[in-house]
């Protein structure tokens, strides 16, 4: 960790960056995102999966990089344990 030169580092003053934002996602028959907050997904560009921290509380996410109607690119993931969807920068 690189500490800033002057400010003393305290955990309570740290603000996480790129925190996942909840989104409403509807999936198609193949369990791939079809709409994101009612905007239609034009294409799923890439999909990948992360399995981490299995040694304490397992984190499993299915990520999809999608192209929305209008041209916006979004990265989404589904928390496999809870079934909730989030948007996050890659």
């Amino acid at each position: 960790m690189v500490a800033p030169a002057r400010a003393p580092l305290r955990a309570d003053r740290l603000r996480a960056l790129n925190v996942p934002q909840p989104v409403a996602v509807e999936c198609d028959a193949e369990d791939r995102p079809h709409t994101v907050d009612t905007i239609v997904v034009e294409a799923v560009l890439e999909s990948w999966r992360i399995d981490d921290e299995w040694w304490r509380q397992s984190i499993t996410r299915c990520y999809h990089e999608v192209l929305l109607d209008g041209g916006k690119r979004v990265v989404l993931f589904e928390d496999v344990a809870t079934g909730e969807w989030f948007a996050q920068m890659p």
């Binding site: 960790m1 690189v2 500490a3 800033p4 002057r6 400010a7 580092l9 003053r13 740290l14 603000r15 996480a16 960056l17 790129n18 925190v19 996942p20 992360i50 981490d52 984190i59 996050q88 920068m89 890659p90």
Partner: protein
């Protein structure tokens, strides 16, 4: 390591306000207006002030608003330390033609060792004349503006040791010289004000409070008494005032040619690649510790070409420089106009001749950068303080790495309050 040449007989060339004079030389019409040069940092304070501006009450160290308040017609110039550095290097190179023993002081102050020069020029008066002729002909810019601004402002002093020569130069009228004959140092120095000594303001004030106004008055006191009052500094000052310290001019020894070479694994014909290789070689050669304090005047580039042939470029730089871009420019031109007749297998770059530069000037440039950085920090701190006062809390953050290796994006970076 070769011994550095020294000379106890010294000539001092002093061009007061050298940076400001450089600006006047390259900007038409500045000399007739009150002018000030800004400091080479972000403090926006005045660094050097022309005599015309001084008459209106403007002083170095003032802020721009204070100065404009006193003199609304004041012309402000942004500083260009690299330009002053280059002009000073040209001055050193010109004076090097007179004497091989050259020692640079601050910008605009040069000492020449004159031991042995009487064999070439004759009496000290003739040596000084030669120096003045060199200064008058030293120019590669517009002649008119140069002669209006820099030539009339130089002063020359001659004496035994650097201090006597410097005091003599500081007493000389612009464009003229003061010669202190050998043996006459004591008499000459005795009448000079104590301000010519290298004094800090506190010591200066204390000496004046003791009623000591001239070097003669200081030298008349017992050395032990001055040392008891002012310590080692006092002893040094007393010895300078009494003419007992003769600091010789210490010249530099031009380094042997510096060579950097590169052998290609496969012969290279593309000019881009060769140019990139030349850039690397120049950077490597300039970093050589022997080059410090010297500017490059002549460069030789040899390319070994496939089939046992070779290609050669000998470049003589008009202005000696330590700037890689200026060294590479004529080599690129030569490469473009007359490229090697085949693919190059090996490149050898040689810095073959040098002109005196100064490490002090490089420090000056570094100081300017450091000062600029410090100025930015101050400005940032002021801005942060203002935001906090207005909004009651700070909305400025640092981005810090937390677990940059994490597969979970939100764990990689975090924000922390910025407190400058």
């Amino acid at each position: 390591m070769p011994q550095r040449p020294t000379s106890s007989l010294a000539a001092c060339v002093w061009i007061p306000l050298f940076p400001l004079r450089c600006e006047e030389a390259r900007r038409e019409g500045l000399t007739s207006h009150p002018t000030a040069l800004l400091a080479p940092d972000l403090s926006r304070k005045l660094w050097q002030v022309s005599p015309l501006a001084r008459h209106t009450g403007v002083r170095p160290g003032m802020t721009v608003s204070q100065a404009i308040g006193l003199c609304p017609t004041l012309r402000l110039c942004e500083p260009d330390p690299v330009h002053y550095d280059e002009r000073f290097a040209c001055l050193l190179a010109a004076l090097n033609e007179i004497s091989p023993v050259i020692e640079a002081g601050e910008l605009g102050l040069v000492y020449l060792g004159t031991d042995g020069l009487e064999g070439i020029y004759g009496l000290p008066e003739k040596i000084v004349e030669a120096i003045k002729r060199t200064l008058e002909s030293w120019n590669d810019g517009p002649k008119d503006s140069f002669h209006r601004s820099i030539v009339p402002s130089f002063r020359v002093g001659w004496g035994t040791g650097k201090f006597t020569a410097w005091v003599a130069a500081s007493r000389a009228k612009p464009g003229e010289a003061v010669i202190v004959p050998s043996g006459g140092e004591g008499k000459f120095l005795a009448s000079q004000p104590i301000a010519v000594l290298p004094l800090d303001p506190d010591t200066h004030r204390r000496l004046r409070q003791l009623g000591i106004r001239t070097l003669g008055a200081l030298a008349a006191l017992p050395e032990e008494a001055v040392t008891a009052q002012f310590g080692a500094v006092g002893r040094k000052l007393w010895r300078l005032a009494a003419g007992q310290t003769v600091e010789p001019v210490v010249g530099g020894v031009a380094p042997e040619p510096i060579v950097a070479a590169l052998t290609f694994f496969t012969p290279v014909g593309e000019r881009d690649l060769i140019e990139r290789a030349i850039d690397q070689l120049i950077a490597r050669a300039l970093k050589d510790p022997r080059r410090i304090g010297w500017r490059v005047q002549a460069v030789r580039l040899v390319a070994e070409v496939e089939g046992g042939r070779s290609w050669l470029a000998d470049i003589l730089l008009k202005d000696p420089t330590a700037d890689a871009a200026r060294i590479v420019a004529p080599l690129r031109t030569r490469l473009e106009q007359a490229p090697p007749a085949g693919a190059v297998t090996r490149l050898v770059l040689e810095l073959t001749a040098f002109a005196p530069g100064t490490t002090e000037l490089q420090l000056f440039a570094r100081d300017a950068v450091a000062a600029a950085r410090a100025g930015q920090q101050r400005a940032l701190a002021n801005a942060a303080r203002e935001i906090r006062q207005r909004l009651k809390r700070i909305y400025l953050y640092h981005v810090i790495e937390v677990q940059p290796w994490s597969r979970l994006p939100e764990r990689r970076y975090a924000l922390i309050d910025f407190e400058p």
